[in-house]
């Protein structure tokens, strides 16, 4: 049995991972992101995760890499006919979500539920961000915020309560579609960077589900 890290620190780290993932889905990687990913520590980590991201990033010059990644970003997440809309509603059904009446849609029932959840806990999406509440990046960002709150909650003794809320949100929303979405992206893209991002996302969400919702999944998640 591995020694559990102090939950406080763990939550802060989880928050950082969510921040990274959220940022990767919300925006095309810029120079700073590329340099961050190129740093020795991160590359070592990706290597130990068996994700071939490092080599690809090292080979190309920064400007052309940024350009190439922005095209793939648009192809995967933004423009028909190639894109997979990165919104929960699109994957879990529209308003009438019974089997007979599936309506692929933006702002479906899932978006309303997610927005309700945000409202309930006083989380606001800045209007100027012009983002829908069930965008993958926004949901991950919500988890970033929640785990950050968890890390701060230890002093007041509310850690369990915050974790419970995190677990509930994770299970009801990101957990029910991000694995599917990640798999679809992995199937769709040849780009090692976006494959790695999706693999990482999928694995991390699976791992989080196990940890937070005590789902009966082994700690080591095999893909």
């Amino acid at each position: 049995m591995k020694k559990k890290e102090h939950p406080n620190h763990e939550a802060a780290k989880r928050s950082a991972v969510y921040a990274l993932l959220s940022r990767l889905f919300l925006k095309e990687p810029g120079l700073e992101m590329i340099r961050f990913l190129k740093s020795r520590e991160v590359l070592t980590l990706f290597e130990s995760l068996d994700l071939p991201l490092g080599n690809e990033i090292l080979k190309k010059d920064e400007a052309s890499l940024i350009h190439e990644l922005s095209l793939e970003y648009a192809r995967l997440y933004l423009t028909p006919p190639s894109h997979l809309p990165p919104y929960e509603s699109f994957y879990v059904g529209g308003f009438r979500d019974d089997m007979e009446n599936f309506e692929p849609s933006l702002q479906g029932k899932a978006a309303v539920e997610v927005r309700t959840f945000y409202h309930e806990y006083g989380i606001l999406i800045p209007e100027e961000a012009k983002l829908l509440p069930d965008h993958i990046g926004v949901e991950l960002e919500a988890l970033r915020l929640l785990s950050e709150l968890e890390s701060q909650a230890a002093d007041s003794g509310h850690t369990d309560r915050v974790r419970q809320i995190e677990g509930q949100f994770l299970a009801e929303h990101p957990g029910r579609w991000i694995p599917l979405f990640s798999d679809l992206i992995i199937k769709k893209t040849e780009n090692p960077f976006y494959r790695a991002v999706s693999q990482l996302t999928r694995a991390f969400i699976d791992s989080e589900l196990t940890e937070l919702t005590h789902r009966n999944v082994e700690e080591e998640v095999a893909l």
Partner: protein, 784 residues
């Protein structure tokens, strides 16, 4: 491959410890980080739905609607019972606006082309960059003094055409192709020449007899729901009028096929395409011969004498009409007499009459029936449209002195609307070198005749050096653009509408956002205002307003509305009409008709001056005269649930209509050895298409009919009947999804997304109105 949780967390540690992911987000996240809200956060249950009154634009009828929001999400669009035209009725298209606004295939960010045109490689850019880029392209064109090298085109933009024209004129270019009269250019010209209005409003609610030529209002009239509900009312309710009880109205339809309207008429008469005008003239002949005409009306309110008219009609006998149109002379006589004796009566005529080579002449012939029977602008008759006009805010840009070389009007001296379908071909012919081609909700590759040619032109970077496409969707044409600017849909915009009033009391209807524009999309007015400011060079002085101030100014001359509270009143109520105004009939008695003579011009000097026959005549369609054995006429038709090129990606609508077989008469099918579901190739001068046939009785043996709006190859997934690549079992419920090659057997009927007939329709214009002849395609059919 194995991931361990510990490694993930190390990733977090690395981020926090070394470079700092959090820091990264703070500097680059574009204010994305979620923040904790204060006490002002609403915790409403969402159970109370507040209706937002607005105006539909999923077709041109522009009915009143209500949007219902919960948690910032539009969850339903319903009808507004206060709207004087639509009176609480709403069609499928209106309700499916929800599909349109939340279409997962929408473009939500400005996208810039990367790589060869049409290859499908895009890069997201910011609005700032997009405006910069457009301004950098536009400024040199303005500075060069050749502003005409900027061309702007929009499709069926009935609402913002004044605004887009203002933009193009302010820039200094005459090439604004934005004019879109209801019913098309041929109808507009015929009506204008005859009585000085763009179109007629048949007052069907009060009619006793509706005589329909080439029109299918139950499915496709340009004022659909408002119009058809009154037709149905007249057909189903005995109405008290003045002091007598009116009978239910009779409805007689001439059409090449049994449309929804023909099928619900008392009588359907199949007719050879393009001969409606002749049948109408033969009826006029009968009415005059029988002395059933309204002589005093003709004498007082037209510029032609009854005797001269009778002389002109002498040769248009029912027998001649029978020979050419196939309608029995006996029927023509009977219907003519019924029409003349059932006052008030009215005709209804749209595309089946006007979208032919002889569209203008034929429309004038149909109008003549109403004129000689004195049914003009009377209750229950053939009425002048009643509507408010808006003011153009001052200062208005001057109309550029230079004449456009691309509007096509030099060959069509009488035409009042630019020849939209010819703009791109004329660029190809080299009539005008252009530098920038900008479109708004215009998809020429799909909507124009000979679409393949349009595609080649748009792909040619010598002809079209820079193509800016303002649209909400990735259309067949947008895919060829250099820059796509995401436009807000009609559900997210603010606009004013003044459709013609069926209650004969003009009204104004406001379209207002039901939700804020999704993603980074921006309403067209907002885009153009910002562009004008960036381009500058003097054009910015015509755009010193925001959208609301512009609209406020537009209605500033309508005194009763200003007194009621102006825009604020409209925002609250959705519609405005002056309750002191009585229904307006026979308005010509006060001001005459808006023609040079002030009368109805049966004899048109303007036509004569340009070398056309000044009288309503039957003008045989040349291409029809050369039709050979084995050749057929192909006509296209609209669907109740679709609006041309814009609705096929709406799930609810495409579930109802998604494919469009070739309808063929059983006699013809026997001759060609065709059975139901047989696969056929339809060949025209412009190209060929493959579809499957449906053998029916209700179509003229010399005609095949194919529906519009289907067969998209580059719109959204639903429009292309692509089952989603999702593992979610629900997504497989797009049950009509197609495999490559389509479905051709009876078991698999109704599958796939059909074919699009417009690419095989040759470019051809009515020599008077210039409108495209959609119904004059000669085809051969081969079994494959």
């Amino acid at each position: 491959m194995k991931f361990s949780r510990r490694t993930f967390l190390q990733l977090g540690a690395v981020g926090a410890a070394s470079l700092g992911v959090n820091k990264l987000l703070q500097t680059q996240s574009d204010a994305m980080e979620l923040i904790m809200g204060g006490s002002e956060v609403s915790r409403t249950t969402g159970k109370h739905l507040k209706p937002i009154p607005s105006t539909c634009l999923n077709c041109y009828a522009r009915c009143g609607n209500y949007g219902f929001n919960a948690y910032g999400t539009l969850i339903k669009i319903g009808p507004n019972p206060e709207h004087p035209n639509s009176r609480g009725r709403m069609c499928a298209k209106g309700q499916a606006g929800l599909n349109l606004v939340y279409d997962p295939d929408r473009i939500l960010y400005p996208m810039k082309r990367v790589g060869p045109r049409g290859e499908g490689k895009w890069q997201r850019i910011t609005w700032e960059e997009a405006y910069h880029e457009v301004a950098d392209r536009m400024k040199p064109v303005m500075a060069s003094g050749h502003q005409e090298e900027f061309v702007f085109q929009s499709d069926r933009d009935i609402t913002t055409q004044d605004f887009t024209r203002r933009f193009v004129h302010a820039f200094g270019s005459p090439n604004a192709f934005v004019n879109h009269p209801l019913g098309g250019p041929n109808k507009q010209l015929a009506q204008q020449l005859t009585w000085g209005a763009d179109f007629e409003i048949p007052d069907v609610a009060n009619s006793e007899y509706m005589l329909i030529f080439g029109s299918n209002p139950f499915e496709a009239h340009y004022l659909r729901t408002s119009f058809v509900q009154r037709m149905v009312e007249a057909r189903s309710i005995r109405r008290f009028s003045a002091d007598l009880l009116r009978p239910k109205a009779k409805m007689v339809t001439f059409d090449v096929r049994v449309s929804q309207t023909s099928g619900r008429s008392d009588e359907w008469h199949p007719i050879i395409p393009g001969t409606d005008g002749l049948v109408a003239l033969a009826m006029c002949h009968v009415i005059m011969e029988e002395g059933m005409e309204d002589r005093s009306f003709i004498n007082t309110w037209t510029n032609y004498s009854p005797d001269a008219l009778k002389q002109h009609l002498k040769d248009y006998t029912p027998e001649l009409a029978e020979k050419i149109s196939g309608v029995p002379a006996k029927e023509i006589r009977r219907i003519a007499k019924e029409f003349a004796s059932s006052k008030p009566s009215t005709t209804i005529s749209t595309g089946g009459v006007t979208k032919h080579w002889n569209g203008v002449y034929s429309e004038r012939c149909v109008a003549l029936l109403n004129i000689i029977t004195g049914n003009v602008d009377i209750k229950g008759g053939y009425c002048l449209p009643k509507f408010y006009t808006f003011k153009e805010p001052e200062p208005a840009p001057p109309v550029p002195r230079m004449k456009s070389k691309l509007n096509g009007l030099s060959n069509y001296p009488l035409a009042m609307t630019e020849l939209h379908h010819r703009v791109l071909p004329m660029i190809k012919e080299g009539r005008q070198r252009i530098k920038i081609y900008m479109t708004y909700q215009h998809n020429p590759v799909y909507s124009n005749p000979e679409g393949k040619m349009m595609e080649l032109i748009l792909k040619d970077e010598d002809l079209i050096p820079y193509y800016v496409c303002i649209d909400s969707f990735m259309t067949e044409s947008a895919a060829l653009a250099d820059l796509i600017l995401p436009a807000a849909t009609y559900i997210e915009r603010m606009e004013l509408e003044a459709p013609p009033a069926f209650e004969m009391v003009p009204f104004i209807s406001l379209r207002q956002p039901m939700i804020p524009p999704l993603g980074e999309s921006v309403p067209i007015t907002g885009i153009l205002i910002e562009m004008a400011r960036r381009i500058g060079g003097g054009m910015e002085k015509y755009f010193k307003f925001d959208t609301e101030a512009y609209l406020q100014e537009r209605i500033s001359a309508i005194q009763p509305l200003v007194e009621a509270g102006g825009l604020e009143y409209l925002e609250k109520n959705g519609v405005f009409y002056d309750s002191t105004v009585k229904p307006q009939y026979e308005v010509f008695k006060e001001k005459g008709f808006n023609t040079p003579s002030g009368k109805i011009e049966i004899y048109s000097k303007r036509m004569e001056e340009q070398g056309f026959n000044p009288l309503p005549i039957y003008d045989p369609i040349p291409i029809h005269q050369t039709i050979k054995e084995g050749e057929l006429y192909m006509v296209i038709h609209q669907w109740m649930v679709h609006t041309h090129d814009r609705t096929a990606n709406c799930m609810w609508l495409s579930e109802i209509v998604h494919d469009n077989p070739v309808y063929i008469n059983s006699m013809t099918a026997r001759k060609l050895d065709l059975k139901n579901y047989d696969r056929v190739k339809v060949i025209s001068k412009a190209g060929e298409m493959v579809s499957s046939v449906r053998v029916v009785e209700g179509i003229h043996p010399k005609v095949i009919a194919v529906g519009d709006s289907c067969g998209h190859w580059g719109f959204g997934r639903i429009a292309q009947a692509e089952a989603f690549k999702s593992q979610d079992p629900n997504t497989r419920l797009l049950w009509w999804g197609k495999e490559k090659g389509g479905f051709w057997s009876e078991e698999e009927r109704d599958r796939g997304n059909g074919v699009h007939p417009k690419p095989i329709i040759p470019i051809l214009s009515d020599p008077l109105g210039g409108g495209q002849c959609w119904m004059d395609t000669k085809v051969r059919i081969v079994k494959v």
